[in-house]
């Protein structure tokens, strides 16, 4: 016999969980008490939302569901933004929340919030556990739902009395959920249709999204692109599927994408979308050729045809479907198209900048930074102008690029970097944010110190909410409202207060030495780059 709380911890152990991110409170105390007797490492974050983001970064690098924990009421509601962020990017999370006792549910008692109700629109599924006997089955199902099919966050809400009930622990080997059977393999007939469409096409184009990483299809997709002669564009979530410098990689598409990618999109006669939602910032029917044939490969049937009419729908896991396709070895007649594309001005692999310049060119800095990082390092971008500079400037070889793509959640980068580092301690992890987003997450510097986590932080400081300022100058007659961040603290001194070494640079002339020093520093270090408030993102996509 054991308590419900012990059963929850035991379930985590059975699922191979070695690290969890959380913030305790009264109603989750039995769980924390049980956790103290376990070998599972608990990372105490400084706000619940950051626990969710850390679990997100952990999940994306480890390939396993990230686990985050919060108490009832405000603890749970603080988690909501992290759940929504994970939901939009299909990141597997298991979120555990404490809840008020079952006999008080619905009476608006202290720290009661209907969290399963609140989280319903952006969780893949949620459980409100009313009897401890259900816990092992619920935990098994939560991990299964979070990590299979189209991954996503799953919430397990457990009233405190349920955590204290005694049960016999029997952990199921398999989750059996009769209403849940995600399609894995592609339909053979559809796979054949796709192969023959590739063979017939002259200007094929692969558009790859974050689903490629979720299904571990990177290698398969590279082989498909190379074997069939298909150039590649990626969404922001798909950055890094192919190395930035790969001859078939045309870069990121969309509003903030690069010209070569968007032009190829407009000219292509066969667009193969793989693991991408076709979000409004990426693809719209106006950005495509009128006679284009659209193939959409996705594990979630509901994504196919939702935002873009599809000629050949193919439901399945990207890795499995590309395996099936590879067996048919399709080959496009794309020689001319490839020659044409390489003739076009490609995204430059290294931005030229004048080392003597006395300002900072954000994109040059990002290129310098990412070129100086390890080949297999992890680059975590925040949201705002820094995200656009990062997405367009980052040079990826074998590394990963993590960001909040769908939700665009500010304050994502540092906690996500913490999670990524814990998932892969041997890898270099760099978080890049702006001064606005830094101030949404700077409390996590304490988490870094407390748990001895080694990440590098770059703050692009323009003393503004730059992206909003840019929108205001373009669309609101340059009337700048609520974008000046005057009153902000000295970021280097904030870092110093936590014992984190920090330096500030003002020009590209200082950049090389500073980036080197940052990356070679022993533990966590911070580099603050003072950026001209008038710098724009320089969108090419609309041209």
């Amino acid at each position: 016999m054991m308590t419900g709380a012990q059963a929850m911890v035991k379930s985590l152990e059975k699922e191979g969980v070695s690290v969890v991110f959380g913030y305790p409170g009264a109603t989750i105390c039995p769980f924390y008490d049980a956790l103290s007797q376990s070998g599972i490492r608990h990372i105490l974050v400084r706000q619940e939302q950051n626990g969710g983001h850390a679990a997100n970064g952990y999940a994306r690098i480890s390939g396993k569901p990230g686990v985050c924990i919060a108490t009832s009421g405000p603890g749970a509601t603080n988690l909501l933004t992290a759940l929504a962020t994970a939901y939009m990017d299909s990141i597997p999370l298991v979120a555990i929340t404490g809840q008020v006792p079952t006999d008080l549910l619905g009476r608006d008692v202290f720290q009661e919030a209907d969290i399963t109700g609140c989280a319903e629109p952006f969780t893949k599924y949620s459980f409100l556990v009313k009897h401890a006997d259900e816990l092992p089955k619920v935990m098994k199902e939560a991990f299964c739902l979070a990590s299979t099919g189209r991954p996503g966050p799953v919430l397990v809400d457990v009233p405190i009395d349920v955590q204290n009930q005694m049960i016999e622990f029997n952990y199921p080997d398999k989750a059996q959920i009769r209403g849940y059977k995600p399609t894995q393999k592609g339909h053979a007939v559809q796979v054949k249709r796709v192969a023959s469409a590739i063979t017939k096409s002259k200007r094929p184009l692969l558009c790859i999204g974050g689903g490629a990483f979720l299904s571990h299809a990177e290698e398969n997709l590279r082989e498909l692109a190379e074997g069939a002669g298909i150039p590649v564009v990626t969404t922001m979530m798909g950055l890094g599927v192919l190395p930035t410098a790969h001859p078939l990689n045309l870069g990121m598409l969309g509003t903030h994408g690069c010209r070569a990618a968007n032009q190829a999109l407009r000219q292509s006669d066969l667009l193969l979308i793989v693991g991408a939602r076709v979000g409004d910032r990426a693809v719209s029917s106006g950005s495509l050729a009128p006679d284009v044939t659209i193939v959409h490969i996705d594990v979630d049937p509901a994504e196919i045809g939702k935002n873009l009419g599809t000629n050949i729908p193919l439901v399945g896991d990207a890795a499995k479907v590309t395996d099936q396709l590879a067996k048919l070895s399709p080959k496009a007649d794309s020689g001319e198209w490839l020659a044409h594309l390489t003739g076009e001005s490609r995204q430059k692999t290294c931005w030229n900048f004048d080392e003597a310049t006395n300002t900072i060119s954000p994109r040059a800095l990002i290129e310098l930074l990412s070129c100086s990082m390890d080949d297999d390092s992890i680059y975590v971008a925040d949201v705002g102008q820094n995200q656009m500079w990062s997405a367009r400037g980052v040079q990826l070889r074998r590394g990963r690029f993590l960001t909040s793509g769908g939700m665009g959640t500010m304050g994502y980068s540092i906690p996500a970097a913490i999670g990524a580092k814990l998932a892969s301690p041997e890898k270099q992890v760099v978080a890049v944010c702006g001064d606005g987003s830094f101030q949404m997450q700077m409390m996590e510097l304490a988490t870094i110190c407390q748990h001895g986590i080694n990440i590098k932080i770059v703050v692009m400081n323009n003393r503004r909410l730059g992206l909003v300022r840019e929108i205001q100058s373009q669309s609101y007659g340059n009337r700048q409202m609520a974008v000046d961040m005057a009153g902000s603290p000295d970021i280097c001194r904030i870092a110093a207060a936590y014992g984190i070494p920090a330096m500030q640079i003002h020009s590209m002339a200082e950049s090389k030495a500073a980036v080197e020093e940052l990356l070679q520093s022993e533990g966590t270090a911070l580099l603050e780059c003072m950026v001209d408030p008038c710098e724009n993102t320089g969108t090419e996509g609309a041209e």
Binding site: E120, L145, A302
Partner: protein, 167 residues
């Protein structure tokens, strides 16, 4: 256009809220929704009448299928299914009008289920169009209350919704 969608769902707490929440946040218009337990006590059947074009209906079906608690979704064709709706109407009548209302009730195959000095309560279980007709006919009197169940529907012939094969 109106479409009838039959949905088999897990018979447990929170499912109705998940389904209605899905319709609300994705902007699908529910005309009516009726729900009740099936021959299998662990399964409930929802009959949802939705207004929408082909694109909307395809999205509704896909989003419903995506729900973990949904076991089967089937679009029913109006012509090929038996559709029923129950209505209860309380009509205020004078002594002179009582006979007229009872005549309408007889012609429509409805029933008077309650009577008072000033009212008649009428029950009709019929196709939704007939239920509409009934309300229209009684609207010329002083209708005091109407309650309708929403449409339920069953395929004609031997075919069933069959939930063994959720797609």
């Amino acid at each position: 256009m109106k479409h009838i969608i039959s949905v088999l769902v897990e018979n447990k707490a929170g499912v109705l809220s998940r389904i209605s929440g899905l319709f609300a946040r994705r902007g699908y218009n529910i005309d009516s929704l009726a729900v009740g337990v099936t021959e299998d006590k662990t399964i409930s059947r929802m009959t949802i009448v939705v207004e929408g074009d082909d694109y909307i209906i395809e999205q509704v079906e896909k989003q419903l299928n995506k729900q973990v608690d949904v076991l089967k979704v089937k679009k029913l064709n109006s012509e090929e299914s038996t559709r029923r709706e129950l209505i209860l109407i309380k009509v205020g009548v004078t002594a002179a009008q009582r006979g007229e209302v009872i005549d309408i009730v007889k012609v429509m195959g409805a029933k008077v289920v309650d009577i008072s000095h000033t009212t008649l309560s009428v029950e009709l279980c019929d196709r939704p169009e007939r239920v509409d007709l009934m309300t229209e006919l009684l609207n010329q009197y002083k209708v005091q209350e109407i309650v309708r169940t929403g449409t339920v529907a069953l395929e004609k012939g031997p075919g069933t919704i069959g939930y063994g094969s959720k797609k």
